[in-house]
């Protein structure tokens, strides 16, 4: 099953240490089509992460509403999974137990969740690492574990908050290619925050550009490149044009 999100006039306002109010986001309005891959780009501190937290139901908007298939999101939903900027693994759990955590919390038996997690590990290149601890893994591997922990929930909506931000360029390219192929199988609705324009264009159907704080959407750029996309497509003229448009919009943000 796939889902669509509707964000209507959403704002987030924080209370500043001096008691004043600090507008962090919005108002933001957009809708997503089912199975759409959307990336959010914009200057640091523009409220991208806040928007993802709102979509995940970890935080409630100050104003406006978020609808998942027409129903308001006010708390975390089993249909929505979020992946954070750093791997955010539990260092005392083995890799397989980290991946299986969502199933464990959902009350699924040890046998069944181990079977499910074990089946997922090869797709992430992690099969030999099942009994290892996160402290024994490299940054790229840890991020794959985090991705596994998100995918095992079989979510309809995937929220990715700069998932590859801490990785080196080569690992980053590799992991995002893996993400692309996994997404091609499942076709969840994806909202991903990134700072990398090429990564944004290469992965998505639509790129939303946000302004400085309080972040608003200043451009909604479609990426009509055919899928499946190979990495070489980033050198094509059409890709260059789209990336250029995204960059121009970020500059005027």
């Amino acid at each position: 099953m796939t889902a669509s999100l509707a964000v209507r006039g959403v704002t987030a306002v924080y209370t500043a240490p001096n008691g004043g109010s600090l507008p962090a986001l919005g108002p933001v309005t957009f809708t997503t089509a089912p199975s759409e891959f959307i990336t959010l780009v914009g200057p640091s501190g523009c409220g991208k992460s806040t928007l993802l937290r709102l979509l995940a139901g970890l935080q409630v908007p100050t104003k406006g509403s978020i609808l998942l298939d027409g129903k308001p999101v006010t708390e975390p939903s089993p249909r929505v999974a979020i992946m954070f900027q750093d791997a955010n693994l539990m260092p005392w759990r083995t890799i397989i137990d980290n991946v299986a955590l969502p199933l464990e919390l959902a009350g699924i038996s040890r046998d069944e969740r181990n079977r499910t997690a074990q089946a997922l590990l090869p797709q992430l290149g992690l099969e030999e690492f099942a009994p290892a601890y996160p402290g024994e893994l490299s940054g790229g591997m840890a991020q794959r574990v985090a991705l596994g922990r998100v995918l095992i929930q079989r979510p309809d909506v995937l929220l990715l908050d700069e998932p590859f931000g801490a990785l080196d360029a080569l690992t980053r390219e590799q992991v995002s290619a893996d993400l692309m192929s996994l997404w091609t199988q499942e076709r969840q609705t994806v909202m991903m925050v990134t700072h990398d324009i090429n990564e944004a264009v290469w992965l998505s159907d639509r790129v939303l550009v946000m302004s400085r704080r309080p972040g608003q959407i200043i451009a909604d750029i479609a990426v009509p490149l055919p899928r499946p996309r190979v990495l070489a497509v980033t050198y094509s003229e059409e890709f260059g044009h789209i990336a250029q448009r995204v960059r121009a919009n970020i500059e005027r943000a």
Binding site: R53, L58, P76, A81, P91, W92, L105, Y133, G135
Partner: protein
């Protein structure tokens, strides 16, 4: 070829000599003790020879006295340690979760914690009588504070990002406690337990010093009053042994529960 064999021999000998080192230290100490008594630098009632202490040990062991007093002390210590742990962790958890409670209780806690237990132990005897209860309470109080502090620090050390993760996975309060807070705080909790386990011996002895008719602390006091120095030393050595065993038990627990830490560290240092 010869060099390889030589180095292999050295490698084989190295760990065993290192394992023996603590016993070697003990042996030197014992010899030094024997030497001092042989030279008669101090009268025997101040420093009795090792032989006299050993004889007293065997004698009190055979007539059952040592055993009875040890059982009394260890029993009171066990109950006090258990109660202090439960109370310290429970209140520590509540304080870590509730700022209002922290502000309400922290002046009282700091006041009691900074007062030496020896100073108010007589008060506890007045309140709880001269029987085992007052010793259990002094033990409980010495264990309670380090456990409380470490629980507060431990629970506060849980990374907010992991809390977010658990929320996003719709964890229940109980799951939040058992799957996140307890394991995340475990290294700090075990640090508190290590401290508490050794302090628990002191707690009981303080209680027994103030007033008692059984226990190793009582035995120390009784032997001192009759200038039976070998017996004082036997009781003190027994207490040291108990404290050491407690420490060892927690270290073993730590080794088992925190295996992931040593594995993670080893890899990171490579």
């Amino acid at each position: 070829m010869q060099i390889t064999m030589l180095s292999r021999q050295v490698n084989l000998r190295m760990p065993s000599s290192r394992a023996l080192a603590p016993y070697l230290g003990l042996l030197v100490l014992l010899l030094l003790w024997e030497l001092i008594t042989r030279l008669k630098i101090y009268p025997e009632f101040i420093i009795p020879p090792p032989r006299a202490v050993f004889d007293t040990f065997v004698q009190t062991l055979l007539d059952g006295r040592l055993w009875t007093h040890t059982v009394t002390t260890v029993g009171q210590m066990g109950i006090g340690l258990f109660l202090g742990l439960v109370a310290g962790v429970a209140l520590g958890y509540l304080i870590a979760k509730n700022h209002m409670l922290e502000q309400m209780l922290s002046p009282i806690i700091v006041a009691i914690q900074s007062t030496p237990v020896v100073a108010y132990a007589p008060l506890l005897v007045i309140w709880f009588g001269t029987g085992p209860t007052s010793k259990i309470v002094t033990c409980m109080l010495t264990v309670f504070f380090p456990m409380l502090t470490n629980t507060v620090v431990g629970i506060r050390s849980v990374p907010p990002s992991l809390r977010d993760l658990m929320h996003s996975l719709r964890a229940t309060r109980w799951q939040m406690f058992t799957r996140l807070e307890v394991p995340a705080a475990m290294p700090i909790l075990l640090g508190g337990l290590k401290l508490s386990a050794t302090l628990s011996v002191i707690g009981v002895v303080v209680g027994e010093f103030v007033s008692a008719n059984a226990g190793l602390g009582y035995l120390v006091k009784l032997a001192r009053d009759s200038y039976n120095t070998p017996l004082v030393m036997v009781a003190v050595l027994m207490l040291a042994l108990i404290a050491r065993l407690m420490y060892g038990a927690v270290a073993l627990l730590e080794h088992r529960l925190l295996a992931w830490q040593s594995r993670s560290r080893r890899q990171n240092s490579l």
